[in-house]
Symmetry: C2
Subunit: 336 residues, 2 copies
């Protein structure tokens, strides 16, 4: 049985979505969950779910919590009794197979790197965003915020880790890896993309060259490599636009009587649509390159997002992802 | 009367959308239009519009055309008889107040810089994208692709030009200028954003600090400053997501009978929605910092997008935008 530690104090509305997500994950997938955080608050949330007591869910008390306002590096060093630290230690000690948090992303990355350490050969762990694509299988974008001002060699490693993740966890047979740039031709890009291109060509996977911003959703690439600054901007542009379009669509539809009736009649179609573009169905961003499994969720994650992040954490933990990263990096270093 | 030169051979389906857009612009706004390109093809398109002969539309023959496949800098130097060159020369010679093209963006920028020259004091002309925002007034993003690998001083100039555009052309009274980064706090960003922050603070306009990708649509800032690589990725992420969401929504709605009926009943609401998020309503990307007016349109621009780009070109030409850029840059240089 896979055991996942959940930081119950992470998200904006913690611990309610974390507790409910854990219950659904335990019910649907049969995973064992350790909810970490303020014992009283967690038990209070658990009480409103009658099925909870029969499920493989444990509560582990943590005295501190890291907030969104905390300075990432400082909190990582000083708040060692936090729910986030405790989760990471459960993984480091082999008591959990992976952990997830919807809390302060910077602090979570710092703690994961500090407590879990890096997979041998990895220079910089990278946060990968997973985007819904029109063609069905999700697109992995590495890095979406762990590393800004990247060296070319770092991006090459992001590509390697991303394609292993796509293959082993998302089950894409032959992932196509693209480099995020501003035109398909090789010369179109900036200094970084031009320097990283020969490195990516050398790595032995299916490197398809430059891709553009729209390919985050086109399905033309399975893995998209970029600097963490660019990737984070891209991620947040997508979130912002999806939110604005959803809101404007609702406003337009509810502004007239015929629109309202139409909206009511198409309710299930809208639900289907939302499900297809909804990030919460995809379940959090894996931090690739740390020993163990760490999934970082959006602060606004609802119980569905938490449930799916638990599913992803378990799939990641059941793959031999980190071993493959180590092996492929070693092969690459030897071939060099 | 404002005269706008239109590169009739630019877009993917040229010259039909260019000709139709010109007719609508002449009808609606009363501007004088010079359609530049292959005389026969343009006249063939004009013939299908009975009203065309009564409108202030002229045709100017150009022997060459620049294609999307042309190398930007090479085409700019060698195809001097192209419709794009001819348009730029009409502006440089004072025979038109501005020009627009839906052709090869790189070539168009190169030609505009070469033929029109730069506004005194401007280091690098910048392409600005204009995004629809939830709050109504559009958001100007500078740069969206003219300059990659930017120096901090270049971004400061982008901010200055962007806020003048927002004020004089988009009629925003006190534009708030934000710096695109990966967190609102000043220390969150990369080397470039940290170096440009003190420069932007010094420019005397309303600099609101870092903004994030989602602020392209939030309306929290009126002008967003970024490196052209990041801006181009952001623009294309937005295009790609809008396209995917539109397609998925249609698919979901037409998959069931009740969805289809709902869709039919809400047709006008959907039209309203599309109009609010549609880039073609906004009308092209102005190249800021060149002497004269150059608007660059998407290759897939339809006649509505061309019409609106003509409107924007005329509004730009009627403002004293370039003079203000020169004056404000001079003030800034003297204060330094």
């Amino acid at each position: 049985m896979v055991t996942i530690a959940v930081d119950a104090m992470g998200g904006d509305k913690a611990p309610a979505p974390e507790v409910e997500g854990a219950i659904h994950a335990a019910l649907e997938f049969g995973h064992r969950i350790i909810l970490v955080g303020d014992r009283d608050e967690i038990h209070h949330s658990l009480k409103s779910h009658s099925s909870a007591s029969t499920l493989p869910i444990e509560v582990l008390h943590a005295t501190e919590r890291i907030t969104m306002e905390d300075h990432a590096a400082k909190a990582a060093r000083s708040k060692k009794g936090s729910s986030m630290h405790t989760c990471a230690r459960l993984v480091a000690d082999g008591k959990a197979d992976g952990f997830l948090s919807a809390g302060n992303t910077g602090a979570c990355m710092a703690i994961a790197k500090m407590v879990l350490g890096k997979v041998p050969g990895v220079d910089r762990p990278a946060l990968s965003g997973v985007f819904p694509s029109h063609k069905g299988s999700p697109v992995v974008v590495v890095d979406v915020g762990a590393n800004v001002d990247c060296e070319p060699a770092m991006l090459a490693q992001f590509g390697l880790m991303g394609q292993i993740y796509s293959r082993l966890v998302l089950k894409v047979k032959h992932p196509r890896v693209g480099l995020l740039s501003i035109g398909e031709e090789e010369h179109k890009g900036n200094m970084l993309t031009r320097e990283v291109t020969p490195l990516l060509k050398d790595l032995g996977f299916d490197f398809i060259g430059n891709v553009e911003g729209r390919d985050l959703f086109s399905g033309n690439a399975d893995v998209i490599v970029c600097d963490g600054f660019v990737g984070n901007v891209a991620l947040k542009v997508a979130e912002g636009l999806a939110e604005m379009m959803g809101r404007m669509l609702r406003e337009s539809l509810t502004a007239s009587v015929s629109g309202k009736i139409g909206y009511a009649l198409s309710r299930s179609a809208f639900r289907d649509f939302r499900k297809r573009v909804d990030y919460s169905e995809i379940g959090g961003a894996p931090l690739l390159g740390v020993k163990g499994v760490c999934i970082i969720c959006h602060g606004r994650s609802d119980s569905n997002a938490i449930k799916n992040a638990i599913r992803v954490a378990a799939e990641f933990a059941s793959s031999n992802m980190n071993q493959r990263i180590e092996e492929e990096l070693r092969e690459f270093a030897q071939a060099d």
